[in-house]
């Protein structure tokens, strides 16, 4: 296990986090909100936690940037960093799954689509898991399932609170039914966390869909989301094809889910740390 800080770069990581966060190159970034499009000085965007100062649009964060943002001083101890994917089905579509894995590992500097960190948030010990969308769409296969399950079991053993930051298109097709079973595995572990009366805060970010939403992401004691995130079970295209109807405006956005009673709150990224700290004051465990 190793300590990481906001500024430290892991060997083998191809790009510093700021270049992976925002697509536009150079010292300026363009807001990804089509109705805004404001040109932002990249340093300002970074200082504003990758939220557009003009319109409040939340740029997607990498898993590393997410953990750096949530933990005190961006410091945390990574857990189970050596859990690595295999190719249990020998899956080949347009390219072999093995090649996709190697490509994603090179691009992200991660072995799979999640990082689990243990550290402090406003002084309180906490475990936070963050998903990496750039790793095959943040999809959940055996590694994501195993690392989250271990994180939950660790929280039970050490009586620690848990936060999972979801950012995922759902279960990973290339691991077939084994990916599906991760939903059951994690949910069973969450039942034990619940029995142990330990808090689980689920933070849903853009996007959280499919088997991730239909398992741990919706099982928080608190389910909270960042503004404007796409959250749902079925994809919009599948729904449109099935019911042959146009979808209502704002369908499957955070605010839509809030309105329909599926979220406790929509929380601005700049207020997340305060929100979580406040939640932990309510839930305990008392430090």
């Amino acid at each position: 296990m190793a300590w990481f800080t906001r500024k430290e770069e892991k060997i083998g990581e191809p790009a510093p986090p700021e270049q992976r966060t925002v697509k536009t190159e150079g010292i300026f970034a363009k807001c990804e909100n089509e109705d805004c499009g404001t040109t932002i000085y990249r340093k300002d965007l970074r200082a504003n936690l990758s939220v557009c100062p003009q319109c409040g649009y939340h740029f997607r964060l990498s898993a590393r940037d997410r953990l750096a943002m949530l933990f005190d001083n961006g410091e945390y101890e990574e857990r189970d960093a050596g859990v690595a994917p295999t190719d249990p089905l020998g899956f080949v579509d347009k390219s072999p799954y093995r090649d996709r894995l190697i490509k994603s590992q090179r691009e992200t500097g991660l072995l799979d689509a999640i990082i689990v960190g243990e550290g402090r948030l406003m002084g309180r010990s906490i475990v936070i898991a963050a998903m990496e969308f750039k790793f095959i769409g943040g999809s959940m296969g055996s590694v994501v399932g195993e690392k989250i399950t271990r994180a939950i079991e660790h929280c039970i053993d050490e009586r620690l609170p848990l936060v999972i930051v979801s950012c995922s298109g759902g279960a990973r097709m290339q691991e077939g039914v084994l990916s599906l079973m991760q939903m059951a595995k994690i949910s069973a572990a969450l039942a034990r966390l619940d029995d142990a009366r330990l808090p689980f805060i689920s933070l849903l970010t853009n996007p959280t869909t499919g088997g991730v939403t239909a398992s741990f992401a919706m099982l928080g004691d608190l389910n909270i989301a960042e503004p404007g995130a796409i959250i749902g079970f079925a994809g919009a295209r599948v729904i449109e094809q099935t019911i042959r109807q146009k979808l209502p405006k704002g369908f499957q956005r955070s605010e839509f889910l809030l309105e329909h009673g599926m979220l406790d709150a929509v929380v601005d990224r700049r207020e997340l740390r305060e929100f979580i700290a406040s939640a932990l004051l309510f839930t305990g465990p008392d430090p």
């Binding site: 050596g82 690595a84 399932g145 279960a171 077939g176 059951a184 949910s187 034990r192 398992s215 979808l247």
Partner: protein, 292 residues
């Protein structure tokens, strides 16, 4: 008898295949998909009326509606009172639509959970029968929390105090199947399939071309033998030669035998033992390696 109406008995007499022909049936994964979706495949109610007695259907989720895509109720299995929960497809055009082709909405999953909690309270065994293309993808389903309904079932099934026997009888369509699929013994009928995504859906996403479904079906490893090899199910329930659609009675006999064996194995375990074993069972699923 429904089998008379559907002409299954005539078929049984006339088209029954020799065992050699039967061996070649369903050898390709996509053929298994076709058998699992066969329009004459026995659906839940046809199995329930053959294997259980005194089935009494119970309705509704106590929140919004009664979802006809899932049926549930108590019944008697070999002199034991049990709860049965199942996806239910429709046999004819109107019923198919009424049952939404076996695709539940959140209300169906919530009804299922309500009935399972009822069984758990009185420590009665639970049988679930899985046969769905998937959870319904629709505006109303999303509005009422399709994902939440499935998720809660996964968590709660993990800690029910009843013995749970899960059987995939036809299509095991992803999360919509798993939402009633967490149990102590998980079985698949020989020609059923169980998958994270339909072969058509997988083909459309990964190949950008839905005609590659046969390849997707092969790669996804969705047959009963595949899942047995992957450690996801405990056993395969045999079907009559050529498939369950050719002989509903015999298919039901095979199920009864498998269920009796499964129940005898777990019915004397305490709630604590059941929950611990159920946890270990799902905890072990997945393949990965440890690097230093």
């Amino acid at each position: 008898m429904i089998s008379d109406e559907s002409g299954v008995n005539q078929e049984k007499a006339g088209i029954r295949m020799t065992s050699r022909e039967a061996e070649s049936v369903g050898s390709e994964p996509i053929e298994r998909v076709q058998l699992a979706r066969h329009e004459r495949r026995p659906y839940a109610m046809e199995i329930i009326e053959r294997v259980f007695t005194q089935f009494v259907e119970l309705h509704g989720d106590r929140r919004f509606r009664d979802d006809p895509a899932i049926v549930g109720g108590w019944a008697v299995f070999e002199e034991r009172p049990v709860m049965v929960i199942a996806h239910q497809k429709g046999r004819h055009v109107r019923e198919r639509q009424a049952r939404n082709f076996g695709m539940p909405k959140p209300d169906g999953y919530r009804k299922a959970l309500r009935l399972m909690l009822l069984a758990s309270k009185f420590r009665r065994p639970i049988f679930t029968l899985i046969d769905t293309p998937g959870a319904f993808p629709g505006i109303d389903a999303e509005e009422r929390g399709q994902a939440e309904a499935i998720a809660v079932n996964l968590r709660e099934m993990a800690r029910l105090e009843s013995p749970i026997i899960v059987t995939v009888t036809g299509e095991g369509g992803s999360g919509g199947a798993l939402a009633i699929g967490v149990g102590d013994v998980v079985l698949m009928m020989e020609n059923s399939v169980y998958s994270v995504i339909s072969p058509e859906g997988c083909s459309a996403i990964l190949w950008k071309d839905s005609s590659r479904a046969p390849e997707a079906a092969a790669h996804l490893k969705i047959t009963a033998e595949d899942l047995l090899a992957l450690g996801v199910i405990d056993a395969v329930v045999p079907e009559p030669p050529g498939g369950a659609h050719l002989d509903w009675d015999l298919a039901s006999d095979y199920l009864r035998t498998s269920w009796r064996e499964a129940l005898e194995r777990i019915e004397r375990m305490s709630p604590e033992e059941l929950r611990a074993a159920r946890y270990s069972k799902f905890r072990a699923m997945g393949r990965f390696e440890e690097r230093l």
